[in-house]
C-alpha cells in the first residue's frame, strides 16, 4: 500500500475566515517519497493549508486523501511538526516526555506510556542528536534544540507522511543542515515530507518538489520544472527584487524584499 505513487492528494480545498478566502480551490498531488517545500509570501495561507489538510481547521470545501484514502482513516500515517512558537516552552515537563507525546495517539485511553514507548522516544531523540538532553526541562532549550525536540516527537509518531511548519525558523546554520539531512534520510526510506519553507535560496538545494502558492495554488511540481522566475513573480506579485540573473549567483539571489522585511519584524515581535 505504501508503494502507490501518490502520498497526498488534495482536491478543491477552500478555507475562509468569515467572508475572506484564505485558501482558494487548492489542488495538490504529491508523489510518495518526495521532499516538498511549500513557499509563498506571508499571508499566502501556507500554515493554513497544512492545518486544513490535517483537519485542524475546518475547510469550507475540499477533500484530502493520504495514500489513496480519506485523511481521517489514515491519521496514523501522518506526522505533524507545528511551529515552534505555537506552544509555551515554560510548561513543566522534560524533553523525553514531549517526545513521548508522539506516541499518545497509539498508546490508547486509560494507559500510561511504558518502557517500550520510552525506548521509541529515546531512539527518536538519538536521530536528532538530542539524547543527552532527554531529562532536560524544556524551558532550558535553545530555539534550535526546541525545533529538534519537535522533530523527534514527529519521528516518534513513526508516520509515512510528515507535515512540518517552518522547521528552520530561528535555527542556526549547523542545525539547519542537520535537519535537512534528517529530512533527506526520511525521503530515502520512502517517506513523504512536506515543509513550509521561507528561504527561497535553498529550495533547489534541499527539496525535490515545490508548491508555490498565494491563496491559490500557483504551481506545484518538481523543483527543476516549476521553480522559475515566472512562477515566483506570480506568487510574490510585483514585490520581487531579483538580482541580475546573468551575474554570479548572489547569496540572496531569490530573497524577496517583502518576505525579508516580514521575517525581520516577525523575529522582532517573537524573539
Amino acid at each position: 500500500m505504501m508503494n502507490d505513487t501518490k502520498a497526498i492528494e488534495v482536491f478543491d480545498l477552500t478555507v475562509a475566515y468569515r467572508d475572506t478566502p484564505v485558501l482558494w480551490d487548492i489542488d495538490l498531488e504529491v508523489p510518495s517519497g518526495t521532499l516538498m517545500a511549500i513557499i509563498g509570501p506571508n499571508g499566502a495561507g501556507k500554515t493554513t493549508l497544512i492545518k486544513a489538510i490535517l483537519g485542524l481547521i475546518r475547510p469550507a470545501a475540499g477533500q484530502v486523501l493520504i495514500h489513496g484514502k480519506p485523511y481521517l482513516e489514515q491519521r496514523r500515517l501522518v506526522g505533524y511538526v507545528p511551529q515552534r512558537g505555537s506552544v509555551d516552552w515554560d510548561f513543566p515537563t522534560d524533553v523525553k516526555d514531549v517526545v513521548m507525546m508522539g506516541r499518545y495517539g497509539s498508546i490508547g485511553w486509560l494507559r500510561r506510556p511504558d518502557r517500550a514507548h520510552e525506548t521509541q522516544a529515546m531512539q527518536a531523540l538519538e536521530k536528532v542528536g538530542m539524547s543527552e538532553f532527554a531529562d532536560r526541562q524544556i524551558s532550558q532549550l535553545s530555539g534550535g534544540q526546541q525545533q529538534r525536540v519537535f522533530l523527534a516527537r514527529a519521528l516518534a509518531q513513526d508516520a509515512q507522511v510528515y507535515f512540518m511548519d517552518e522547521p528552520f525558523q530561528g535555527v542556526d546554520a549547523t542545525t539547519e543542515r542537520a535537519i535537512v539531512s534528517l529530512l533527506q534520510d526520511l525521503r530515502q526510506v520512502g517517506k513523504t515530507v512536506v515543509v513550509v519553507h521561507h528561504d527561497l535560496q535553498t529550495v533547489p538545494e534541499y527539496f525535490d518538489w515545490v508548491t508555490l502558492m498565494n491563496v491559490r495554488r500557483i504551481a506545484s511540481g518538481p523543483v527543476t520544472q516549476v521553480f522559475n522566475e515566472q512562477n515566483l513573480r506570480m506568487t510574490y506579485g510585483g514585490r520581487v527584487a531579483f538580482l541580475n540573473q546573468a551575474s554570479v549567483p548572489a547569496p540572496h539571489q531569490y530573497e524577496l524584499e517583502q518576505d525579508y522585511r516580514d521575517k525581520t519584524t516577525w523575529q522582532e515581535t517573537r524573539p
Binding site: L56, R75, Y80, P92, T93, M101, Y104, G105, W109, P113
Partner: protein
C-alpha cells in the same frame, strides 16, 4: 497557651475536625485541578465560574426549598457550567475577546445572584437563613453531610484527572498536536473544564464565590515555583491548597464571626509570597543572589584580564 488551645481544637473538637477536613478537601481538589487552568492560561475562567455559580445556588434553593448540600452544589455546577458556555459562545460568535467576555459573564451572573439572594432573604421562610454564607464563605457551617458530598464529588474529579492524565497534559501543552493525533481535544477540553467547575463548587461554602478563584490560581502558581514536573506540581499544589484550607479555618475559628474565605485566601497568599521569593530555581531572592555573584566574578575576572594585558 494559645498553641495548646489550637492543639486541643485539632484533637478533641469534633466540629472543628469536620470543618478542617472539608477545607483540606477543597484545597486539594482546587489545587490539583487549578494547575491545569493556570498552565492553559485560563486562570480567569475560575473567577467567572465561581461568580456564575451564585445564582445557581439560590435558584436551587428557591425551586426545591431545601439546603441539602448536593442540591445546592448541583445548582452551582449547572450555573457555573452555563457561565462557561456563555463565555465560549460570546468568544466564538462575536468579536468580543475572552477577557471581556469573562468579565461580562462574571458580573452579570453575580449581579443576578445577588438579586436572587436579596429576594430570597425577604421570603417569610426561615430556612433561607445562611445562604449568604456563599458570598464570603463560612466553613464553620459545614456539617458532616457537606463534607461527605465534597469528598465524593472531589474524589470523582481527581479520579477522572488521573485517568485522563496524559490527554490533559497534551491538551494543556499542545492542543493542535493532540488534534492531529486524532484525540478528541474538544471533548477533553469540556471534560477538564467540567472538573474545574466541580473543584470550584466544592469550595464555595468555605471560601465563597468572591474569593474562590484564588484557590484555583494561587496554589498552582506557588507550586510551579518549586518544580519543573507536572506530576510534582499537581501534588505540591494540592498540598498547598490543603495546608491553606486548614490553617485558614484555624485562624478564623480563633476570632469570632470572621469569614473563612478571607483567612484561607490570606494563608495561600503567604505560601505564594514565600514561594515567589525563596523557591530554589525561580525564587526572586536566589535570582538576586546569583546576579550579584555573577557580577562580582565577572568584575574581578575582568580586572585580572586587564592587568594581564597591561603586563604585556
Amino acid at each position: 497557651m494559645i498553641s495548646i488551645s489550637i492543639f486541643d481544637i485539632f484533637l478533641f473538637d469534633y466540629t472543628f475536625r469536620v470543618v478542617a477536613l472539608g477545607a483540606a478537601i477543597l484545597g486539594i481538589v482546587s489545587g490539583a485541578l487549578g494547575c491545569f487552568a493556570v498552565l492553559r492560561k485560563q486562570s480567569l475562567i475560575g473567577d467567572a465560574i465561581s461568580h456564575a455559580a451564585l445564582p445557581g445556588i439560590v435558584l436551587a434553593f428557591i425551586i426545591f426549598r431545601s439546603k441539602a448540600p448536593l442540591l445546592l452544589m448541583m445548582g452551582a455546577i449547572l450555573a457555573g457550567w452555563a457561565g462557561t458556555i456563555v463565555v465560549m459562545a460570546i468568544v466564538q460568535n462575536t468579536r468580543i475577546k475572552q477577557d471581556s467576555a469573562l468579565g461580562f459573564v462574571l458580573s452579570v451572573f453575580f449581579g443576578f445572584g445577588l438579586v436572587l439572594l436579596t429576594f430570597v432573604q425577604r421570603l417569610p421562610d426561615a430556612r433561607q437563613a445562611g445562604l449568604d454564607r456563599f458570598l464570603f464563605g463560612q466553613a464553620a457551617t459545614m456539617l458532616e453531610a457537606d463534607v461527605i458530598t465534597m469528598a465524593a464529588l472531589g474524589g470523582v474529579a481527581l479520579l477522572l484527572m488521573g485517568l485522563f492524565w496524559k490527554e490533559f497534559k497534551l491538551l494543556s501543552f499542545d492542543v493542535e498536536f493532540g488534534a492531529s493525533l486524532g484525540l478528541p481535544m474538544r471533548a477533553l477540553d469540556v471534560l477538564l473544564t467540567s472538573l474545574l467547575v466541580v473543584a470550584i463548587v466544592i469550595g464555595l461554602q468555605s471560601v465563597g464565590v468572591v474569593l474562590m478563584s484564588a484557590m484555583v490560581v494561587a496554589p498552582a502558581a506557588a507550586a510551579r515555583q518549586w518544580t519543573d514536573r507536572l506530576g510534582w506540581m499537581v501534588l505540591l499544589s494540592a498540598t498547598f491548597g490543603a495546608l491553606s484550607g486548614i490553617s485558614g479555618v484555624l485562624v478564623s475559628s480563633l476570632l469570632p464571626r470572621l469569614s473563612t474565605g478571607p483567612t484561607i485566601v490570606l494563608s495561600i497568599s503567604l505560601i505564594v509570597v514565600v514561594s515567589l521569593l525563596l523557591a530554589p530555581q525561580r525564587g526572586l531572592f536566589w535570582g538576586w543572589v546569583r546576579h550579584r555573584q555573577n557580577r562580582e566574578t565577572l568584575w574581578f575576572g575582568d580586572l585580572r584580564t586587564r592587568s594581564g594585558v597591561n603586563k604585556k
